[in-house]
Amino acid sequence: MLDANARTSRDAKLPLLEVKNVSQNYLTGSGEKGPAVLDNVSLSLKPDEIVGLLGRSGCGKSSLLRIVAGLARPAGGDVSYLGQPVDGPVDGVAMVFQSFALFPWLSVLANVELGLRAKRIPQAEARRRALKAIDLIGLDGFESAFPKELSGGMRQRVGFARALVVHPNILLMDEPFSALDVLTAETLRTDLLDLWVEGRMPIKSILMVTHNIEEAVLMCDRIIVLASNPGRIAAEIHVGLQHPRNRLDPEFRQLVDKIYALMTKRAEPAPHGRESVFPGLGLAMALPRISTNTLAGMIEEIAAEPYLGRADLPALADSLQMEIDELFPVGETLQLLRFAEIEEGDIKLTPAGRRFADAEVDVRKKLFGDHLLAYLPLAARIRLVLDDRPTHTARAIRFLGELEDYMSEEYAERTLKSVVNWGRYGELFAYDEASETFSLENPQ
């Protein structure tokens, strides 16, 4: 058990971990290097700090974490741990997973012991350390239980115990609380912070990935905000608040608002000619999978009381119980289709958005379709091809192929599915799932 003071005094200058100019690319459908996921990211982790990587999905934060853990190799740049280059998983770095990633056939004790036994640590010693970790993390009495008997919170505690038992210098956490319900997540956060503040965990630093702004402000000493397309460091924020932090503290709120504003800032006028909020330009834009009901619901919510056309994003997130990972893509889709504008942490309906909110179903669909054609190049392209051809039909594979020139297979499929759904709602075209064909006719 390390004393908090002793921890800070020694080697406070020497970074535990250095990430220098790391970049990473998607693999496109044909296995070629695709667009960048991470672009020139550098950061360092010093002893005795919790650093948060904050960003929305697709900003490469999980990729970055896996590169740090030695589970993936960057396309460019270097990672070094205690001065040694990382070219594979290293001792001294342990990871906690969003999905817990427990072995369902091993008991709690065996799950925790596994990392030690794999390294040929004698059984008695392994057992002693495992029991200690289990005790520390509050799992006493559950040693012989199997993961499927445990609740989510208890499972994640096993995840923590399993990572701590190998006495890592760095604890990596990949959205460790996002698979838990609100109350459980809060308890677990508090317990973890207590152990950290009291210096009872055998670790020096924590690097955590999150898409929850409040969580980041609550836990981290330093927050690195990642911007998307491609992932790069947008800002670094020091959080000077003392633990335990109070979410209602004005300073806390201010910080949260500031980060919201930062994360919704319009991308600077296009360094590479980009103007859209989504990765890629024109056809190459990767779209999120959002239902038209969600879009319509969001427009209605903003149009109604108490927002009346202009909503503060943190407040909106709070009242809709949405994480930024869900909220931002919705807002950005609305922005892309010119139904809303996002600025300074606020979302504001455009006149078109207001008209949409007031209209009947058929008018809404017409309006939506018009905006799709005007502002979504892929939708316009599909419609153009259909109009041009005498048969008025086109195979989906044709567009998929085009998309895969710019993005991974997975993203291409998701993008096309989104366009299919939106286009169907806007009655731009029909799509037959069985034959994977676009057409202009409605099914008989």
Binding site: A69, M95, S99, P104, A118
Partner: protein
Amino acid sequence: MASRFVAFTSLGRKALPNQYDLIAFALIFGVFVAMAQVSGGLTLPIAAPESTAISLDYGHLPYYALRTTLRMFAAIAASLVFTFVYATLAAKSAHAALVLVPLLDVLQSVPILGFLAFTVTFFLGLFPGSILGVECAAVFAIFTSQAWNMAFSFYQSLRNVPRDLIEVSRGFQLSSWQRFWQLEAPFAMPALIWNMMMSMSGGWFFVVASEAIAVGDTTINLPGIGSYLAVAIEHRRIDAVIAAIVAVFVVILAYDQFLFRPLVAFGARFRVELSAGQNVEKSWVAQVFARTHWLRVLMRGPAQILKAISLLRLELPGRHRALSQQNPRLSRVMDALWLILIALAALWASWLIVDYVRQELSWADLGQSVLYTLFTMARVIALMILATLLWVPVGVWIGLRPALAEKVQPLAQFLAAFPANVIFPVAVVLILKFSLNPDIWLSFLIVFGTQWYILFNVIAGASAFPNDLKEAVANFRIRGWDWWRSVIIPAIFPYYVTGALTASGGSWNAAIVAEYVKWGDDTISAHGIGAYIAKATADGDYPKIVLGVAVMSIFVIMFNRLLWRPLFGLAEKRLRLD
């Protein structure tokens, strides 16, 4: 004093073996004694009269049943080893997979029964003069009916290991050996156990067919139920045939209860799922062993040793590689070279076959074998349609009644495990008696053993039909043809395809036995590729065997590719209820 008394009894209770220990010990020692009995007969010289003489005395049946069972287990052990090595290689090396996976696909479709003549000759040469050679041939025949399935299932499991669990094991730097035993093998366990069960059922069919082997002039009867049956047929002893049927029945029941129920119960813990399963597999044998005291203490030692072995690092020197990034262009060139190499090897192999067959046979033989295969195919298709028309309504009717389904389902699975060829002589007697047309009536034997796969899969599908959909259907009063067409057929379709695929594969194999059946000196045969192969085997006409099996394999593969694969794709994509 009182407290000490309590302490004493509780201590005593713990130390003494309990009633479950007794049951368990009885079971275990029974197995030991049986194995000792059997192993004596294994290494006898082939000339010794007791090695291959089969007595139709009922009293010998238990011994024969044991010999047969032991053969089955030898085969399943070999299949397991094969599965671990073959599937792991295929899953770990992209280059190996390029060859191994299609090869497995083909092997699955080849009617190995047709090759019996070759394998017997091969193994006899390996152990000249000893019964062990014939034993090996029989075990190999069973092996070929089990291994491909199991390897395929294992390969697919290995490909689907959850990514986060792989990352954990890499993060903890588990060696390949450790990862295999800690992650991959456990993850694959439930599917593997299920496939073992299915394969074991398939194995029965082969063991009956392969124990009594007649190749040309040589006839060898291995002591076992299959030989007993063969001798009974030769002597036209219908009572002995029935005795054999009973014996098979008992053995299947026993290994189901003593081996597979406990295994399935054990395998359930390896399922990767978020919550505890709703229907828990139960096995009284597993429960007996779980409640023993002494036995559990005794097992602790071996369990520790196994655990220690699974945690050895066993790293190959020089294989400890960090994440490497390969030059994509170089690796593509390597891929191309590898493909060319494979293509050359395949060409060479086909040339060997053609060359071998060409020496003895003419184009007319090829035409004849193709024609016969078409006959057999017509038979398989017709019978599959008949079985479908019969069992789909029955299965749906049963499956929608949960209480009934629970009782019928084990029965259907049992019937699928029962080797239908044991029943064949009875059918022959009937055909002879009423002088029926063998071309029609022998056909029924083809699906006799395999139709149950359709039944129990349809039952499973209908049982899984969600209750809210049932209520919606009742609410909208969907009935009659509409109900079949838009409700229940789409709902059971994925299950039906699974069952029908298994059934059709089994039927092709069964054709070799079913189209050419004997009763004493009478031989009944239908026109078909199965009879063609069987007759060639009886005559020792090797080129014809090769030709027949090759043509049949090609048809089976086409059948699978052109019919079942697309149906499977449709079921996967459109009609899944989850």
